[in-house]
Symmetry: C5
Subunit: 323 residues, 5 copies
C-alpha cells in the first residue's frame, strides 16, 4: 500500500497522489514523503522502478526477519533500519516491527510491514509546523526517529516499575510465578537492549556528520538530542539487569526464609510433644506394685510433668530466638 503522507514544499504540506510521485520528485525544493505499508511485489517494483533503490535494501524491506538497526550510505540516499514498538501486537511480551527509511535529496520513503500510528502523528505534526521552508528530508527523518525513541521511554519505565513491584512481592512470598515473570521481563529487556544499542550507533553516526551530502549541519544537533535520549534509555536498560538480579536475590532469600520458618515451627511443636509422649508411654507400662496405679494422684503428677516440661522447652526455644 503506497501512500504519499506529506509533501513539504513552500506551501502547506499536503498528501499527494501516489500516481503522480514522479512529478513530485521533480520538485527539488520540496520534500516528498512516501509511506509503504505491508510491501509486496508491486511495491518492490515501485521502489525499484521509481527510486532505483539497491536490490539488497528492497529485499530487507520485504523479508519478515527482524534486522538490527543500521544505516547504510548508498551515495544517492541513506538506507536506515529502525525498530518501532508494535502496540498492535496483543502479546504480553514486547513486540517490535521494522521501519525501513530511505532518505534522499528531496524525498523520504518509509516502508513497514505492520501499521504504525506513530507515522500518522508525525504527518499531522508536519501540518502544524509552519513554515516548513528549509525543513528537508533530514528534519523529517529526525522527527520520525525522535518519535520512535519517545515511544520507548514509557515501555522501559513500565518494566522498571514492574521489577520494583516484583521485588516488593518477592519480599512477601516466594511465589514461583514471579520467577517466570522475571524471565519474560528479562526477554523484553534483552530485546530492548538489542534494539536501543545499534539505534544509538545509527543516530550517533548521523549526528556527528558522517553523511554531509544528505544530512545538513544545522540538523546535527537535533539528531544529537535524539542520541541523548537513547543514551538515557541505554543506561536505564543496563540497570534493569542489575535490578532483576536483585529481585532473584530477594526471592531466594524469602524462599530460604520460609523453609527456615517451617522447620522451626515443626521443630518447636515436634520437640515439645516428644517427651510428653514418652511420659504417657512410661505411665502406660505394665509394672504393678508401683505408685502408677494410684489413680488421681499419679494422673495429676503426669499432667504436672507435662506442663513443667513444655514450659521449660518453650523457655529454651525462646532464649535461642527460635520464635
Amino acid at each position: 500500500m503506497i501512500e504519499v503522507l506529506a509533501h513539504l514544499g513552500t506551501e502547506e504540506p499536503k498528501a499527494g497522489d501516489p500516481a503522480k510521485i514522479s512529478e513530485l520528485l521533480r520538485d527539488d525544493h520540496g520534500t516528498t514523503w512516501v509511506d509503504i505499508e505491508a510491501p509486496g511485489q508491486p511495491e518492490a517494483a515501485f521502489l525499484s522502478d521509481v527510486f532505483h533503490f539497491h536490490p539488497l535494501t528492497i529485499e530487507d524491506c520485504l523479508n519478515e526477519l527482524v534486522d538490527p538497526p543500521k544505516v547504510d550510505d548508498y551515495k544517492e540516499y541513506l538506507f536506515i533500519i529502525a525498530q518501532a514498538i508494535d502496540f498492535s501486537a496483543s502479546d504480553e511480551s514486547l513486540a517490535t516491527t521494522e521501519l525501513n527509511i530511505y532518505v534522499g535529496k528531496n524525498y523520504v520513503v518509509t516502508v513497514h510491514q505492520r501499521p504504525l500510528p506513530v507515522l500518522d502523528h508525525v504527518a499531522e505534526h508536519c501540518k502544524r509546523q509552519l513554515p516548513l521552508v528549509g525543513k528537508g528530508p533530514d528534519w523529517l527523518t529526525h522527527t520520525i526517529l525522535d518519535r520512535l525513541v519517545d515511544q520507548l521511554l514509557p515501555v522501559v519505565e513500565a518494566i522498571d516499575e514492574e521489577i520494583a513491584a516484583l521485588e516488593d512481592q518477592a519480599l512477601q512470598a516466594a511465589d514461583r510465578s514471579l520467577v517466570s515473570r522475571m524471565g519474560e521481563l528479562k526477554r523484553s529487556t534483552l530485546r530492548l537492549r538489542w534494539l536501543v544499542a545499534p539505534q544509538r550507533d545509527v543516530v550517533s553516526r548521523i549526528s556527528r556528520g558522517d553523511f554531509p551530502h544528505l544530512i545538513r549541519e544545522e540538523t546535527h544537533m537535533y539528531f544529537r538530542d535524539v542520541m541523548d535520549h537513547l543514551v538515557r534509555l541505554d543506561v536505564t536498560i543496563e540497570n534493569l539487569r542489575d535490578l532483576g538480579e536483585s529481585v532473584m536475590a530477594v526471592y531466594l532469600a524469602t524462599q530460604g526464609n520460609h523453609l527456615n520458618e517451617v522447620m522451626k515451627a515443626l521443630g518447636i511443636v515436634g520437640v515439645i510433644f516428644l517427651p510428653l509422649t514418652l511420659i504417657s508411654g512410661v505411665f502406660g507400662t505394665n509394672f504393678s506394685n508401683t505408685y502408677m496405679d494410684s489413680g488421681w494422684f499419679g494422673f495429676g503428677l503426669m499432667g504436672l510433668s507435662f506442663v513443667v516440661i513444655s514450659a521449660i522447652m518453650l523457655t529454651i526455644f525462646k532464649r535461642r530466638g527460635w520464635f
Copy 2:
C-alpha cells in the same frame, strides 16, 4: 577428490575436467571454481604445483584441527578459513567442519574434509543466475559465505526455542536431566559464538575494502549484507547466555519450592498427629479409679478431643497460609 564445480565465463557455467584446469586458468575473464574434498597428499601436491599456494595454508587445509575463521592476504590470493555446520554428523551436539577458501584473480578453490551439500547448492544457483558476466571470484565467495551464514540462523533459533521450552519445563518440575541438557546447549552456544565472532571479523575486513586487489568495490555491499546477518546472529547468541541463566534460576526456584511444599505437607500431617497420639497414650495409662475406664463415655470424649484439636490446628495452618 578434485572437482571443477563451475566455470563461470561469458557462456553458461559448466563443470570442467580437473585435468584441464591449467587450461581453464589461462582464461582471465572467466572464473574457475575448483572444489577439493577430503584432501590427501595428491591434492596437496596439486595445490602446491598448479596454484603455488603457501605451504602454511596447505597445511591448514590438510590438518584435522578446528581452526577459528580468519582471512590472510597472500597478495596473489586470499586464504579464508570458514566454519560450516556439519549436518552429516549424527551427534546430538553441534558439529562443524572447516571450509578453506582460496580467492584468486580468476579462480576460487574450496577445500574441506567432509562432504558439504551447501557447495552443490551454490553451484546449482550459479547455473540459474544468468548472465554471469562480471560475476567474478569475489561474487562467488560472497555467495558461498552467504549460504554458510544462512545455515546458522535456523540452528540458533532452534537453540533459542529449546531454551524457552526448557524454561517452561523447569516451571513444571525440577527435573535434573534439564540441567544436563542446558549444559549441552551451553556448549553448542559457546561453539557458535566461537564460530560467528571471528567469521564476522573476516567478512567485516572484506566488506570495508581491505583487499582492493581481489575484492571489487561493487561487491562490498554484498559482503556488508552477509555481515549484517552475522551481527544479528552474534547478538542473538549473546542473549542465549542470559536466557540460559534464566532457565537455571527457574530450575532452582522450582526445586526450592518443591522442598518447601514437601516440608509443609510433612509439617501439617505430622503436627496434627502428634497431639492425637499423645492423647491416645494418656488414655492408655494405667491409672485406675479415674473416669478413664468409664467405657463409651470416655471413648467418645477422646474422639471428640481428636476432632476438636485437628480442627484447631488446621485453622491455624490455614491462617498462616501453609496450604
Copy 3:
C-alpha cells in the same frame, strides 16, 4: 524565578537587579551569574530573548525528565547538564535534581527545578575570594561543579559504611529486611554510577581543552582536580557493587547455617527420644508371665536403659561434631 546571584567585576561581587541584566552583559570584563529556579514560560522567554539560547537547551531546562550529565558546545556558549543531590527530598532513597549551566564569554546562567543551597554557598564563597580579577565564567563553573562533586563523597561513604554494617548484621542473623535494604542501596548505587560516570566525561572534556574558546588554559588544572575527585568516586562506587555481593554471600551462608543448626537440634532431640519411646512401648505390651510385671525392678531396669541409651547417643553425636 530569575535572580542575579553575583556579578564578579573588578570590584566586590554584588547581586544585581534581573531587570538590568542586559546592561550587566555589556560589561565584557566582569562575569554575571544569573540563577533561575523552577523555570516556567516567562523564564524560557527570558533565556530565549536575552541570551538567544538554542530552543533544544531551553526545552532541556524546562522538562522534568532526569537527563544524564553532558556538555554541548554551541560556539557562543557551553551548555552543561549536571546532577546535584537533592537533600530537600524526604525520601529514603537517593534523589537528584538537574542543574543546567550555560557558560558564556562573560556570564554563567544556572537553571534548576528545585532549590539548591549549594549555589548560595558558592555565591557566598565568591564574595570572600577577593580579588576576583581574572576569575571568569570558567572559574565560576569549576567552583559550582567542584561543590556538586564534594556533596557526593559523604553520600558514597555513607552507603559504603551501611554496606559494611549490613555485612556485620548478616553474620549475626539472616534477617530478610536486610535483603530488601541491600536492594535499595543497589538502586542508589546504580543511580550514583549513572550520575558520576558521564559527569566525569563532561569534566574530562573540559579539562583536556576541548573548548579553548570559553575555558582558558590556566583553569584546566582546576577542572582536572575535579576530575580526580570524580575518578575516586567512580572507583569507590564500582567497589560498592562487589561489596554488596559479599553481603548477599554472607546472608545466604548465615541462612543455610541457621537451617543446618535447626536440623541438628531437631535431629539430636528427636533421635534420642525414638528408642526411649520404643522401650516404653515394649514395656507396655500385654505379655504376662515375663519379668515385666515385676514392679520396681522392671521399672528401674527401664529407667536404667533410658539413661544408658541417651548417654550412648549423646556421645556418638558429640563425636560426630553435631553439637
Copy 4:
C-alpha cells in the same frame, strides 16, 4: 650451564664449543644458538661480557620469579620472556617454567632455570631442515615459540575433557571432592590464561612487523601462524570458565535433588506410619465395656484399618507425584 645447541651456517648445523662463541659470533651469515640452563653468577658474567646484554634482562633471567610473557626491544637485540609447561614437575596442578630468549642479528640465546626437552627437539629439527640457508635467528625464534605453543594444546584439551567428565560425574552424585577438583582446574585455567594472553601479544607484535631490524618480513607469516594457534587456545580457555560454571550448576542441582529425594522418602514412610501408630494407641486405651476387648474381631478390624489407610495414603502420594 652454557651450551651451543646449534650453529646454522651454510653447512650442516653443528653444536659448538662454548669457549669459541666469540669466534662463531664473528660469522655474520650463520646463526649461533646458545642455550643456558640453571644460570648462576658465571653465566650472568658470560651474558654481560660476551653479549653486553642489559643488566635488567640478566636479572630477569636469574631471578626465580614467574614473569608474564613480554617482548622488549633493545635495538641490538630483542628480549623475549615466554612460559613453557614444565613437565618435569610432579605436581598435580599446572607448573610452568620461564624461557628467556635473546634474538640478535646472528644469534639466539635461550636462558631457563629448569631442563626443557622441547629445546632439544628444536635443535634436532634444525639438523633435519636442510638447507638452512636464509633461516636466521627470526626463523629459529619462531620454531621455538611454535613448539612451546604446540605443547599447550593437549594440556588445554585435557582440562576441557576433565571438566566434561566432572559434569557427567556431578549428574550422578553430588560428591564434594568434585568441587575441590573444579577449584584446582580453575587455578590451572587462570594460570593458562595468564600465560597465553600476553604470549599472544608478544607474537602479535612480532608478526605485525614492530621489529623490522631483527625480524624479516618473510618470517612474519610464520609468526602469524603461531598467533592463530594462540588465538584458538585463548578462546578455548575463555570457554573453560563458562563450562566450569556449568559443572557447578549441575552439582548444586544434584545436591538439591538429593535433599528433595531424602525428604520425600522420609515423608512417605513417616506419614504412613503416623495414623497406624495412632490407631494402635487408640486400641490400647483402657476403656472397657467397648468392642475393643472382643479379641480376634477387633484385632482384624485394626489390621484392616492399617491396610486401608496405608493404601489411601500411597494413592494420594502417587497422585501428587511424590514417587
Copy 5:
C-alpha cells in the same frame, strides 16, 4: 618535619641541613631529596615559598583523603601521588598511606602523613650505589616507586595463600566465620586493585616518554621494569577474585552436603524406629483371647520382628547408597 634525606652529587651522598636547602638547590648537577613527614602549615609554607609548587598539589599533600595514584605535569616538575602499604597500622585489613612525590630538574620532594621506613631504605641504598654520577631525580623516583611496588608482592601472595587455605578449610567444614574472612579479603583485594591499576597507568606514562623534559630516555627501561612488576601484580589480583568465588562455591557445597548428611542420618534412624514403635503399640492393644498374652513366645516373636524389620530396612538404605 622537613628532612634532607640525601644529596646525590659527584661526591658521596649526604644528608643536609633543611635550612640550607636553597643553597643545595642552586647546584644544578646534584640531586637534592627533601622528605616531609606529617606536613602541617609550616611545611605547606615551605613548599610554597621555596619550591613555588601549585596550591592544588600542596592541598593534596595536606588533606587526609586517600587519593588514587596519578601523575600531573606542571612543566617545572611532575607531581606524583602513589600509595604505600602502611605496615605501622595494627589493623587486620590492608592499610595504605599516601606518598606524594615532586620530581624537579635537580630535586625530589616526598611528602607523606605517616612514617615510611621504605624511604630510609632507599636513602641507605643511595649511599651504597656509588658512583652516583648521572643518577638524577628520575633515577631516584624510579628507585622509590620500585621499592613501593616490591612491598606489594608479599602482601598479594599472602592473600593468595590465605584464600587457598580458606578453600581447604571450607572443604572440611562450613564454618561461617570463613565467609566473613572472605569478605575482609575481598575488601583488601579491591583496595589493592584500586591501588595497583592507576599506579600502573602512572608508571606506564612515565616509561613511554610522556615527560621527556624531566625523565631522561635512559631511565625509561627502568620504569618499564617497574611496570612489568605492576602488570604481574594486576593479573594476580584479578585472579584473586575468581579464586574467592571458588572458595564460596566450596563453602556452599560443604554446607549443602552437611545438610544432606544430617537429613540422611535422621532418616535412617527415624525410619527404622517407626515400624518398631508401631509393633510395640500393636502388642500393647487390649485384645484378649489372642496369642498376644502367651508370654515369652509372643515376646520372642516381637523381638524377632524387630530384628528382621531393622535388617530389611538397613539393607534397603544400604542399596540406595544412603550410608
